[in-house]
Amino acid sequence: MKVNGLMKWAAVFACTLLLASCANSKHSKMYKDGDEENGSSVSQGLGEGESFWGEDLANASEAQLLDRKVYYFDYDSSAINDNYKRALRAHANYLKSNAGSKMRVEGHTDERGSSEYNIALGERRAQAVARYLESQGAPSSQIVVVSYGREKPAVQGHDEAAWKFNRRAVLVYEAK
């Protein structure tokens, strides 16, 4: 089946936007190789079991919380870090207040282990986030859970420094 020229370019553009929105979190940008703009602030907020967001979220605005689309996990875990809950509540509120909005919650793992088993682990992470959103009032009809397992790493690299950024759930608005 052929895709005609104009449609093909529109599709490229649309997909580039989608890919860009997946990488929207300021912090996932900090750790990509060769990204010079944030080179000096790498060490902020790091550490096992922490949120990786150095800033104080207590005073963050709703818009800033909605900007938080990437949530990280410990190895072999789908437990949601308490530091994330305020931001997730903001997303739940958004979904509740915008009946036409639709969210895809993506689950991802690091590269270790078998591909399809990692698809299952990624689904557990995405489901944990989706269930939390629903517990905070987001209608389940507006949420879709998709696991990418280890297939779509955010960061290239083969050690814990990279793996910690690949174990994540990503919120993508398929419709706003």
Partner: protein
Amino acid sequence: MKKISQILIFLLLCVTQVSHAILDIEVTQAIDKAMPIAVVPFSGELSATTNLTDIIRHDLTRSGEFKNFPVSSMAQKPSNPADVSIDYWRRVKMDALVIGKVQLLPDNKYKVEYSLFDVYAQDNANRPVMTQSFTVPASSLRTLAHHISDQIYEKLTGVPGAFSSRIAYVNVRWKNNKISEYRLEIADSDGYNPKPLLISREPIMSPAWSPDGKQLAYVSFENYRSQIYIADVASGQRRLISKKPGINGSPAWSPDGTKLAIVLSNQNTPKLYITDVNGSGLEQITTGGSIDTEPEWSPDGKSLYYTSNRGGKPQIYKVNLASKAIERVTFEGDYNARPTITSDGRYAIMIHRFAGRFHIAAQDLKTGQVLVLTETQLDQSPSLAPNDRMVIYSTLQDGKRVLSAVSVDGRVKLKIPTSEGEVQDPAWSPTL
């Protein structure tokens, strides 16, 4: 009408051959007693479009079981059986000798004849143990070379060759620190003629060949969900087999080619199902709250081996399709997954975590004994050759995902560096 946000270029397999190989296979460890063999260049082959004996020598080397006599060392290069002086080949310590002839016929066809000699045969070593003759179009010379390799291999080892087979794999390309493209490709068993079956901006995984080698099932995320397709390899035509909510994954063909085992989560937890190859007749096989995935049919078609965390950590289990009785298969190590079974039912090849590292291992299904086959790490996706002698798998080398191969007894190791991007998820076809 497809969504505009899909970017999917669907290429038909072309007729023209591409000589550049994406995979370039090197043997890093051969068996101690590799058989010395002399494959003498066939007369007339240099003027043919394809150098047959180059391909044959490369095939035999790749098996790890043969050691080729360098052409530059050959003081004699007979092409007729009558011109063979067995004493010479004994003096240079060859166990086997192959000679042949290539003749161009009208219509761009070639007549190819070859003879195989057992150099140390007691009687009549001067007479070939096998002579074959073929007439093929120029476009089939490469295929013929692999077929000749298969014949030589089988005559000398007693085991069918796997050179006339193909490998499907996923080629992943990065650009500006992001994955720009996933390509599902099919190449000859020596890495030549790679042809894309699917190019996508979203992941492709788990290619699985039908038992007749004519179709390939795979998982594609092109619609931002995991979905299972089956493609006809020759025409490129494909159909969508499974697009249930949640996970659609891990397609595995039954030995008779009529059914697929698949994994569906229905947004709950992944379980094993069986469906007809046209997507109808869905039957659930496993139940309960555990993750069940990566089904693989037993050679008799009566059971599925699979990965499950029903015992806490991923281990391999077997479920009888009639009774649904489940038995555990792996007991060594805290992570065993992705089973693939030799066609005699004797061995399970799998991903096995040993000393914290992911290797490919073979388990004797009768004794339970486990042999770690690889020295590479972060190994995945083992796939057996159609003659069950080799396992191709995905591993990490110099920071890149590449394919590697190891023999089922661990003695032969091959390195398969890639020219472009990273390569993963190999699937070895049946003999074609």
